[in-house]
């Protein structure tokens, strides 16, 4: 009920603001951007995860469309090339971003019954940025993949006025 009421009430101020922001939902660079995460914050969060260990590019495939219709729902599939045996398997997948207000997106943990270290989900991306997926393997090694995604209509920092 709360959300639908928000949709109903539009004051003149909002009409003018919404009108300046976009034309029929088409893209326009948004004037107001609140402070968010930075590439440095993402690096710090990744460092918290891996500690001193080295991260090697590879073994991880990050499937995410390079140009996205709407940053609110970005389909994303992460898969790790791993036999998923008790001796050799992926323990976890972590996804990070550079420019959302927070650097973490999702962390997935696999057990011996996983069969495949592949997850598909939908993300929110606030702006054109790099998305990074890091896989943690059973031998303690870390592997990564990174994709730059172009966002025309961003999430998080836009308020749904209409």
């Amino acid at each position: 009920m709360r959300d639908s009421m928000d949709a109903l009430e539009t004051t003149r101020r909002e009409l003018l603001l919404a009108g300046t922001l976009m034309l029929a939902g088409a893209a326009a660079p948004v004037m107001i951007r609140r402070a968010g995460a930075t590439p440095a914050a993402m690096k710090a969060e990744i460092a918290k995860l891996v500690g001193e260990a080295k991260i090697t590019q590879g073994k991880v495939k990050l499937d995410i469309p390079p140009l996205v219709e709407n940053g609110n729902t970005v389909p994303c599939t992460v898969s790790v090339d791993s036999p998923m045996t008790p001796a050799d398997h992926a323990k976890a997948i972590h996804v990070f971003n550079e420019k959302n207000p927070q650097p973490n997106v999702i962390s997935c943990y696999f057990g011996p019954r996983a069969g495949r270290a592949t997850v598909a989900t939908r993300l929110r991306l606030a702006d054109t940025q790099n998305v990074v997926a890091i896989a943690e393997l059973s031998d303690g090694s870390f592997w990564s993949a990174s994709v730059e995604v172009i966002i025309t209509l961003g999430a998080c920092l836009e308020d749904n006025l209409i």
């Binding site: 004051t11 997106v105 999702i106 943990y109 996983a114 069969g115 989900t121 929110r124």
Partner: protein, 106 residues
């Protein structure tokens, strides 16, 4: 009642890797949005998802505000025996939801 859509194959062969799709209704309020009068809308998200197969945990995920509204998740597991695959979501403000699906493994 929280609405959820689950896609688990009804039947599978023993040892087959199956894909499980889950979609649950939740606004996943990030905590970074503001109302029309300038107040911050507080964070309200699902933060944990756990799947069990006949009681044993097979998959776990932690969600952050960067997850889309109405969180969608596809993951895999090996079909080992017939039984119940259960899904449990927990979130802010005491949010809790559970769904189940039956599977026949031959």
């Amino acid at each position: 009642m929280t609405r959820a859509l689950i896609n688990v194959p009804a039947k599978a062969k023993r040892g087959q890797i199956i894909a499980i799709k889950t979609l649950i209704s939740h606004t996943m309020e990030t905590g970074f949005r503001y109302t029309t009068t300038g107040e911050r809308k507080p964070r309200n998200i699902i933060h944990t998802f756990v799947a069990t197969y006949n009681g044993e945990e097979i998959f776990r995920a932690e969600f952050y505000p960067a997850m889309s509204a109405n969180p969608f998740l596809t993951f895999h597991t090996v079909a080992t025996e017939s039984g119940t695959i259960a899904f449990h979501w927990t979130g802010d403000n005491g949010f809790s939801a559970t769904e189940q699906a039956k599977i026949t493994v031959e």
